[in-house]
Amino acid sequence: MSVAFTKFRLRERANAATIVLLLAFGFLLVAFFRAQILEADSYRRQSEKNRLRRLTLASPRGTILDRHGIPIAENAPGFTVKVLASSPDSLRALLKRMARYVPETADVEDEVVRRYLAARFQPALVFANASLAAVAALEEHRYLLPGLVIRTEPRRLYIAGKAVAHLVGYVTEVSDADLEKGRYPGARPGTLVGKDGLEATYDSVVRGIEGESFIEVDARGRMVRDESASPSLKPVAGEPIRTTIDLDLQTFIDSMWTAARPGTRGAMVAMRPNGELLALYSAPAFDPNEFISGITGRRWNELNADEAKPLFNRATRGAFPPGSPFKLVTAAIGLRRGVVDFSSHMPQSCGGGFRFGNRVFHCWKRTGHGSLDLTDAIAQSCNVYFYQLGLKIGLPNLLAQATEWGLGEETGLDLGFERSSLFPPSTAYYDRQYGPRGWSNAATLNLSIGQGENEQTLVSLTRFYAALAGDGSMPVPHIVREPKGTPRPLGLSQEQLAGLRAAMQKVVDRGTAAASGGRDLKVAGKTGTAQNPHGDDHGWFVAFAPADKPTIVVGSIMEFAKHGSGVAPYVVRAIRRYLERTDPELAKAPVTVITQQDSATTASELPADSLSGPVRPR
């Protein structure tokens, strides 16, 4: 072997080996140079993506104030509980462990997993509004719950709770469908957005802009460091909005309703003659605060399955046959068209019915009213008079005029989705529905007294009375901004308006007014019955006060109330409550409720206690 191990040969091989080593190490060094110097930025980004999780910082929503500056919706500090996980399985395992300390976790497990799958690298929301006890229990076992992210965030608070439910709507996590359709510009998965009512309509104003901060996680997705103390993007608070609502009146209506008529479904709307909404209430209501806490699927289903439909806004989305209150529309159309004046009599006097073709259309008063002029017909709500007035106006004119006044469409209230009132725009509607020969002029008779193909939302009908009470034009009801549309003039002269108001007041004034000797509060209104094929009729009452110079118009419908007179006392109480502020003296004055004689009770027959004064359940 010595041949190969001479000094010369060894040196030869040592040099060759050194060259191989240099090449090998050079190769490695080049590989490191490429990664560490040439591609360093890309790897640095990957490293950051590995360990940093973006955390959105909720922006405080702008407060919603009533007309006096009292907050309807504000913000309170609340705890949010979120979790980070590396896989759906580890997430479920973590939630199971959390459920040991906070049992409610089990209810939201699927929801959390859904949120997690929607945005894996962001902490998934578990509780949007955790109780202090829950937070304490979780913090105590934090070492067993890796990936837990608890922080304080502004939380929406509606102090009035369910009293303002249908007014403000609610706030909840944006849905995937809404994100896809881009309904909420700037929203990301997990963003809280307004879902109904004012919160939805003015979401872009009150939402603000979410902030952003980062937390550092380890390889298993557990939070190691919280860098949110110095957010990279500070949240921008939403702007406050000022509404025309009178929160005192709003909550009064709720407490009155729930105390006196618990379980009664219906709605009440109060507005000023110029269309400013003072209150909007629908019963039964829900507690909008529940949604902030991240409503559970179960609770949501409960609310949806509830036969009373608490999520349904009956003031703007419920449409009912108006009945008698609509006779004022017929009268106004007659005046507008010059078909009648207040002293006009109809050819046929009321004998309790009206023969049309081979059918007899009844008046509510079977004994008949005799021959009446318009004022008395309004005062006594005589069907036979209005049948003939309708025929005199003519169906096409009746349809066209009511449609022109907007009685067949939405009112334009700035409160999100609103049901359109139904009123046929022209006779073509009947042709389409029943075929050209499938209907007769009898439709005119029905429409004239508020029956037939006529469904009005409470807001729509109340608005018409606002027009009568105000300057004679249909205002666009509104809560926040100046109305978009312009008021539609009824085209009646001041005398005609005054005549209509006078007709509404021409009722046997018995007792109270005379006895007071001073000012008295006259409430002029119209009761109505919305025929309900499914059970007891719904009762309407629309009224304004003070009757001579109205400052407030209140409309209400109560389902299964049988008749509007049952509704009247509550409307009167709401009116008084409002006047306490604007005209305290008048609010204390004796009340005269002037309702036109109708198919049931009159003012004098109302239960006395209901008129004795404002009720303060609070």
């Binding site: 072997m1 010595s2 041949v3 190969a4 191990f5 040969r9 060894l10 040196r11 091989r13 040592a14 060759a16 080996a17 050194t18 080593l21 240099l22 090998a24 190490f25 190769f27 490695l28 060094l29 590989a31 490191f32 140079f33 990664a35 560490q36 110097i37 591609e39 360093a40 890309s42 790897y43 640095r44 990957q46 490293s47 950051e48 590995n50 360990r51 550092e216 996680v217 380890d218 390889a219 298993r220 557990r222 190691v224 460091r225």
Partner: protein
């Protein structure tokens, strides 16, 4: 002590210190990992390795040469035993690489087998009068490395098995075998690797045919080599199917880590991300986020070099590689000056051992080598290999001291 090679000692001390510092850093994380507190145990292992080295330093080359077959026999016996009662650990929990009694892991016999193979190969080659010139003459040394190679493959531990190939080629080269013959010896392996792609493999067979004609090998050997290479093309498919799924995944991930980024490609990606994010100067000692947050796999052991890259950057990597290079060049010198051929071959065999480890491990962290669970000398946390390194360096120091004593001069 004056006989100690100061340069070599200094290099080893620097590497050991650097390594320990990195083990300490690897254990300094924001979350509890297997590396937490490992540095204390590593200190103990380093002391034990130094003691082992001191003992090895006492062993003369004559004793080693005499004992080589016995040590080799013991090594093979332990490898066999491991196959029967072995257990897995760490990255390779599925392999039987640990010898354990009553649940207590005693060590990895493969480390002993590596040294034993170096000794026996050195003994065999030093006994030859002429360097082998034909394949037939390479059969015996091939078997010396081949038997432990196969036993380790059976564990299965591809990474460690490759080390035997490195040792064999290093020893044969130093014994004076011509590079062309080494290439022919390696040709079946090359065929095996290139067989994944038919075109590459076909090209290689053409090149090989040309080389065989050029180098005018014996006809029988030439035909044999050609047939074996062709057979490897077929065998590759069979072998591939016999690999454990995790081995297959590792090989696929080597070619394309993004193919399975969450599982088998995860380690490769995370390691490269850690190194790449280091830049010139790194994130600072103890401050590597990938390491701190345990994104790096096996950071105190197999992927400790990724920590170097992440925390100390390209500069830190260069320094570590320079230290290794200095160590090897210094060791080549030792091998060159050795007083006898056995010692010389032994030292070069140790270079082969250490170099294979370094190249494979470092290459793995930067994704130029497939991921195999193989430790980085002087850096990786772990007892068996550290003891083997201590022992090997003890032998190298002795050879260096002997040649000084003999008054070796260039």
């Amino acid at each position: 002590m004056t006989r100690l090679d100061r340069g070599l000692v200094l290099t080893v001390l620097l590497l050991g210190g650097y390594g320990l510092a990195m083990v300490y850093s690897a254990g300094t994380t924001d979350v509890v990992t297997s590396g937490t507190g490992a540095w204390v145990r590593q200190v103990v292992w380093i002391v034990l390795a130094a003691l082992t080295g001191a003992v090895a330093y006492r062993a003369s080359s004559r004793i080693l040469e005499w004992a080589a077959p016995w040590i080799y026999g013991l090594g093979l016996f332990l490898l066999l035993l491991t196959l029967v009662i072995g257990t897995g650990a760490g990255t390779a929990a599925g392999t039987k690489s640990w010898l354990a009694i009553g649940g207590v892991r005693l060590g990895q016999p493969v480390e002993l087998a590596k040294l034993a193979t170096i000794l026996l190969l050195a003994r065999y080659c030093s006994g030859l009068r002429q360097p082998p010139e034909t394949l037939r003459e390479l059969v015996k040394p091939g078997l010396i490395a081949g038997v432990p190679f196969l036993l380790v493959m059976a564990q299965p531990d591809l990474g460690s098995a490759i080390v035997f190939v490195g040792i064999l080629f290093a020893t044969l080269f130093w014994a004076g075998v011509k590079p062309s013959l080494l290439l022919l010896l390696a040709s079946p392996l090359i065929s095996l690797i290139l067989a994944v792609d038919t075109a590459w493999w076909g090209a290689w067979i053409l090149v090989l045919t040309g080389l065989l004609l050029l180098w005018r090998t014996y006809l029988s050997e030439g035909v044999f080599i050609w047939v074996v290479n062709s057979a490897m093309g077929v065998l590759a498919i069979v072998l591939w199917n016999r690999l454990k799924p995790y081995q297959q995944r590792r090989l696929v991930s080597f070619v394309n880590p993004e193919a399975d980024p969450v599982k088998s490609g995860y380690q490769a990606i995370q390691s490269k991300v850690a190194i790449g994010s280091g830049g010139w100067f790194g994130n600072g000692y103890l401050d590597g986020p990938q390491k701190r947050l345990a994104f790096l796999p096996e950071q105190p052991t197999d992927f400790i070099f990724s920590v170097v890259g992440e925390e100390l950057g390209f500069i830190g990597v260069s320094i570590a590689l320079a230290l290794f290079l200095a160590l090897f060049i210094r060791m080549i010198d030792v091998a060159r000056r050795a007083t006898n051929t056995f010692s010389s071959l032994m030292v070069f065999g140790i270079i082969g051992l250490l170099f294979t480890h370094v190249f494979e491990n470092v290459g793995m962290t930067i994704n130029v080598m497939p991921i195999t669970g193989i430790p980085l000398p002087f850096f990786s946390y772990g007892g068996s290999f550290l003891l083997a390194c201590g022992l090997a360096m003890g032998l190298v120091f002795r050879v260096a001291a002997d040649s000084r004593l003999a008054g070796y001069a260039d």
